[in-house]
Symmetry: C2
Subunit: 184 residues, 2 copies
C-alpha cells in the first residue's frame, strides 16, 4: 500500500533527490567545475552509472540544481518589503550559496532542464514587483544582481568597503540607491 505513484524507486528510496542533495553539497564544497557525476554517485553509494537513470547527462543534473536554486531564491524574498529588504535577501542568498548562485547565472544550462529552469527564473523575477513600470524593475534588478555578484567575487576593494562587512555594506548601498531610484 502506500501506493504513491508508480515511479517510486525501490532499491533506493529516492535516489534522484539523494543525488541532488549530495550534488548540492559537493557544489558548495568544491565548486561547480570540480563536481563530478562519479563522485556524486560514490557519495550516494551507488554505481558510477546509476545517476544516468535519473539524469540524461551531467548538465541536466546541474540544470536541476540551478532550477531549485531559482525557486529557493524566489521564495526567500517573497515576503514583501522595499527594495532594501528584498535586495538584502537576494544578496544573502548569493553569499550564502556562492557556487549555486554562480551556476544559476553561468549560462551553462543546456539541455532538457532548460525550460523548467526558465520558468523557475521567471517566478523569481516576478518577486521584483509587477506593478512598477518595466524599466524600473529592470533597473532595480540589475543593481541588486550586480551588487551580489561583485560582493561574491570579492571585487569590492577596501577603499570602497571602508571597514564594513558584507551585510552592512549591502544595506548601506541598497538604502542609498533605493531612495535615489524612488523605490523605497
Amino acid at each position: 500500500m502506500l501506493a504513491m505513484s508508480t515511479s517510486r524507486p525501490y532499491h533506493r528510496d529516492d535516489l534522484r533527490s539523494q543525488l541532488l542533495d549530495v550534488a548540492a553539497e559537493l557544489l558548495e564544497q568544491d565548486g561547480a567545475n570540480a563536481l563530478s557525476l562519479r563522485e556524486v554517485a560514490r557519495r550516494a553509494e551507488v554505481s558510477h552509472n546509476a545517476p544516468y537513470r535519473h539524469f540524461a547527462s551531467k548538465d541536466e543534473l546541474l540544470a536541476a540544481l540551478a532550477a531549485s536554486g531559482f525557486e529557493r531564491l524566489g521564495a526567500s524574498r517573497s515576503t514583501d518589503g522595499g527594495l532594501v529588504e528584498s535586495g538584502l535577501a537576494y544578496v544573502r542568498f548569493a553569499l550564502g550559496h556562492p557556487a549555486l548562485f554562480r551556476l544559476m547565472f553561468s549560462g551553462a544550462l543546456t539541455g532538457a532542464g532548460a525550460d523548467s529552469l526558465a520558468s523557475a527564473a521567471e517566478l523569481m523575477r516576478g518577486s521584483f514587483g509587477d506593478d512598477t513600470p518595466g524599466d524600473a524593475v529592470l533597473s532595480s534588478w540589475s543593481f541588486v544582481h550586480g551588487l551580489a555578484a561583485l560582493l561574491l567575487d570579492g571585487q569590492v576593494p577596501e577603499e570602497l568597503r571602508a571597514g564594513r562587512d558584507d551585510e552592512t555594506l549591502a544595506r548601506d548601498i541598497l538604502t542609498v540607491t533605493a531612495t535615489a531610484l524612488g523605490a523605497g
Copy 2:
C-alpha cells in the same frame, strides 16, 4: 639571425602569446568549460605538454586570459564620459566577449596569476571615477555590472524588453538610472 620561420622549429618564437591567442579563440567559441589545454596545444601545433613550459596549470592559463580581459575592459572605457557612455562600454564588452566576461567574474581564478589579475581588476575599477564618493561608485558599478550580467544570460524577459535590442535597452536603462542617481 632574426630568421623567419622557415621550418617548424623546435623552439617557437613566442609560444606563450600564441597559446593565449588560440585559447581566447576557443574560449569564445566553445565556452570556458569546453576549453581544454590539449586542444589549445593541438591548434598551436605543439605537443600536448608544451603549454606546461609557459603555464603551471590550466587555471593559470585561464587566469592570464582573465587578466588581459580586465585590461581590455578598463581600456575600452577609459575615455571619460558619463555613466551612460562608460556603462555602455562595459555592457558592450560583456556582450562582445561573453565567455571572457564570465571567466573574469567566475571566481575560479586560483593560483599564481591571481595577483596580476587582481591588479588588472583594480585598474578597471578606477575607471569608474575616483572623485565621487565611495558608495556612489559602488552603486554605479553594481548597477552596470548587473545589467551586463543579466543581458549576457538572456535573463531579461520580453515583457521588460519591449522589443528593444540589447544596445537600445541598455542605453534606456542606463539613462533613466543615471539621472536618478545624479551621476549624469
